[in-house]
Symmetry: C2
Subunit: 600 residues, 2 copies
Amino acid sequence: MPSFVAPTRDARFVINEVLRIDDYAELPGFAGASADIVDAVIEEAGKFASEVLAPLNASGDQEGCTRQQDGSVATPAGFKEAHGQFRESGWGTLSAPEEFGGQGMPHVLGFAVEEFMSAANMAFAMYPGLTGGAVNALLAKGSTDQQQTYLPKMVANEWLGTMNLTEPQCGTDLGLIRTKAEPQADGSFAITGTKIFISAGEHDLTDNIIHLVLARTPDAPEGTKGISLFVVPKFLLDADGNPGERNAVMCGAIEHKMGIHANATCVMNYDGATGWLVGEENKGLAAMFIMMNAARLGVGIQGLAQAEAAYQNGVSYAQERRQGRALTGPEDPNEKADTLMVHPDVRRMLMDSRAFTEGMRALALWAGLLVDLSHKAATEEDRTAADDLLGLLTPVIKGYGTDLGYKVATDMQQVWGGHGYIVENGMEQFVRDARIAMIYEGANGVQAMDLVGRKLAMNGGRAIQALFAEVGKECAAAKADERLADLAGRVEKANGELQAATMWLMQNGLSNPNNAGAGAYDYMHLTGIVALGLMWLRMAGTAVAALDGGSSDKAFYEAKLVTARHFGERFTPEAGALRRRMEAGCEAIMALPDEAFVRG
Amino acid sequence: MPSFVAPTRDARFVINEVLRIDDYAELPGFAGASADIVDAVIEEAGKFASEVLAPLNASGDQEGCTRQQDGSVATPAGFKEAHGQFRESGWGTLSAPEEFGGQGMPHVLGFAVEEFMSAANMAFAMYPGLTGGAVNALLAKGSTDQQQTYLPKMVANEWLGTMNLTEPQCGTDLGLIRTKAEPQADGSFAITGTKIFISAGEHDLTDNIIHLVLARTPDAPEGTKGISLFVVPKFLLDADGNPGERNAVMCGAIEHKMGIHANATCVMNYDGATGWLVGEENKGLAAMFIMMNAARLGVGIQGLAQAEAAYQNGVSYAQERRQGRALTGPEDPNEKADTLMVHPDVRRMLMDSRAFTEGMRALALWAGLLVDLSHKAATEEDRTAADDLLGLLTPVIKGYGTDLGYKVATDMQQVWGGHGYIVENGMEQFVRDARIAMIYEGANGVQAMDLVGRKLAMNGGRAIQALFAEVGKECAAAKADERLADLAGRVEKANGELQAATMWLMQNGLSNPNNAGAGAYDYMHLTGIVALGLMWLRMAGTAVAALDGGSSDKAFYEAKLVTARHFGERFTPEAGALRRRMEAGCEAIMALPDEAFVRG
């Protein structure tokens, strides 16, 4: 049975020492997030994750969710109680606005907590996680009345929320949505249609479920310009605002999935259900994108989280299991064999996992800080700069973060050898759970197109230029210290590959957009390497300063420098290969007629 | 529900046109394998795979195997009947020696058939597949009496065979085996111990099961030098050679696994079971390696097979599913959306799959031919040359082939978006089944060490030098044709990276073997790229010649050239990155103390 300990030391290192949250104390919400409070919240969240959620991860996977004849859904044993504790501990309220009962803490802290919960039990963490997305959409687009009605309950996790986008005929292409919304005399709408793949669509964790639903009003324009957003509670509210009459929305089935079994993925049937328009008619997609952008960061964090959980269990097996001898001679001559830790190829996988998880953690938490700064920074210029980088990094965190998360989960399963393939050992669950993160909230190929087709070109490429400049500055500074110079040179080279790739895209994507499409995925990974490189430079710089300052936690900082070196040596060489692959363009990829793909 | 059509055209292309099996007609066994017979066997095997085995793939996964109270095991519905048909059609006898009832056909043909069976239903194909390995071991090391007793039945698939190596405390490190073999007065041995992860250890497909078991005789030396091989039938044979008394070997449990549910992976309890020594005492490991080397090629073919099956279903979904529009403007303006085939990123994944499956098929079938030539080539020199290359390529086919097989299965699941995560659509089964191939028969890290630590150095590096020379020759020849020159230049460059990496290993692996260990995995992938490059050069050359010759199957050869180009453009750039990664050496990988890996 796998175990999980929240990587609290590393999260505190990033938040307090690398991102230096104390520097922002004058901004709204940050005053309550001094280093000592951060430490306390991090430790408490870590404890909750490892003690309450982690023990339910394997059992939840094995039991799964059960739909009853009446359409109600039972979550696995222990989930309802655990969610009760989650709610009472206020974990859902952490970075929600104080106006609606939240604690108003910075997102950078909220993201760290999210990682722990997701690493301990991804299927569980999705229930409150999706609610956070729904809260964001109502905050941005809901009427004052809607906000007053739903947000306090949702922030408190008394009611949970969902996102209803997908239909059988439409996933990525939301322009194909068919669900209908008929206006009623009282100002409400009657929603009719079928939604599929609705995570947490039905369950027994809360008294009510608040669905946010994309649908078309009569005579709405075709395509994405005719989609509106509606709020549809499972139980309509009575005069006191409490759940009353059952609304005409039912779970028709639970999907059988590869993983995240403990999260109920539902077919939702809307049969004239009562809903209310959120925001403007036909502007639903814009509202949904607010939810989706936050959700995409959350999914990137899931990739990180599954990698972290798998890493820890890879380490514990490698340290216990004795098999073979060190190539340089027996390490433990009194034992019949050495531990797996002596084998360079096992350590390669463990070090790759460290380089990814620690780099990605820094990147995700930086993104959390950018969310905060995009709203709360003192000047318009700073807010815009944060928003630029956040927009650019969001598809990278989602796409690169989940691809690598799956790779690390697979590698850590590999460390276990045949025992990794056995269900009871839990390593294969990390792989199955991590797999969905590459698919949902926009498949990773869609993230790549979002990066290349939208984010890159926005405001004349301002965001990517800012990234280049930031990396360049960090490299130049780091080169002055011989302990950082090798890494700085490698990251600088990767940054150069990214600049060249960007130039190539500008020149060749315009003449034929398929060149951009064919290179987008490699470009996303290339950006991921550079973004992680920037994080490793910052972390290594922080570690060097701490060591020079005579820190008592020497082992931690020294390990950080070794892992930084590993990142430089083993992750950055890929950058050149990615660029050269892109530069092949789209010709061969687009050349074959459809029938040539069919075997015979 | 996924479907499978055997890629018979491509297999015939490789065997008849690229490897030119007709050129070997004078060698033993090849006379019966003229191009027209190859075509007939390939088509018939393809039909059997797609019509009999493929329909049982999903149902077998869902039902799994069932162990009864008495220790007997039921395979999923339809498996017994399908195996009956398999046996009656003689598929198990194809490349077995005529002396024991086999058809004595070349292995190159047998490998093609193996791919089809494994692609259609990997869990099913393992039952006869493992028997083939046991047959090889008995052929090599069994006494005449043992061969006469077991081989005719096993070749005919009337009895199936197993390999019993792993124990709870030992997987890779077979020196740790504890199972005991006590000599009995009648010359037999009493075998006692627990074996785990025994594929096809117990089932209801045949009247008897012949276990090959590694165990220690009393006073055997410690470690790998004290291991002997025994044959242990489930039912002891009566005077007529028919199954009689039940032997004291029982299935104690079936493992719950991530995939290959329809193959019974058993804990086998030997409780004084009667067995007979195969070959010499304490020389069991050498005998087992004969089985394992053949089995490793078979596992590489499983990687290819799962990739092929997944590819076909990726294509069919991409051609049916309509979502979004071509970047260059609507392709089907009368439909609400274009098919996924218009999206460059989807086609990138499909083309990657083609480049891998077609290249790997050529490599696996070439290896099949090398098996034949290593035994049957006319001169000692030719036999040695074939054996050299086969030994070198075996870990590459196993390690690179299964890594890429898993990647392709994952990519093809990705093409399906959210629908790929749903069990009923079958794409996730390909991923779960493909996953084991990276682990068993020596985890891929062990393959990498076999390549770098054993195969590379054998006979002063004769094998790798032969590969360099062969690739160099093929590149030089191809450069003369402008249709092949770009690919040739790219493969030549990759070959140069491999040569440089080999030189680096020689220089740095001797001074510190951990350098070899830390670089082995990258080296294995680098060799895989060069080996596939050689295959693509040969295939592209064959295609050019066919087109120049005015072939009527123009579309096939043109597609081959496009896919060859894609391989060159998208697979070879990785070579340089792999070399640079290796050249970082082992320092950072070996630097951290054990406790630094533990999170807190």
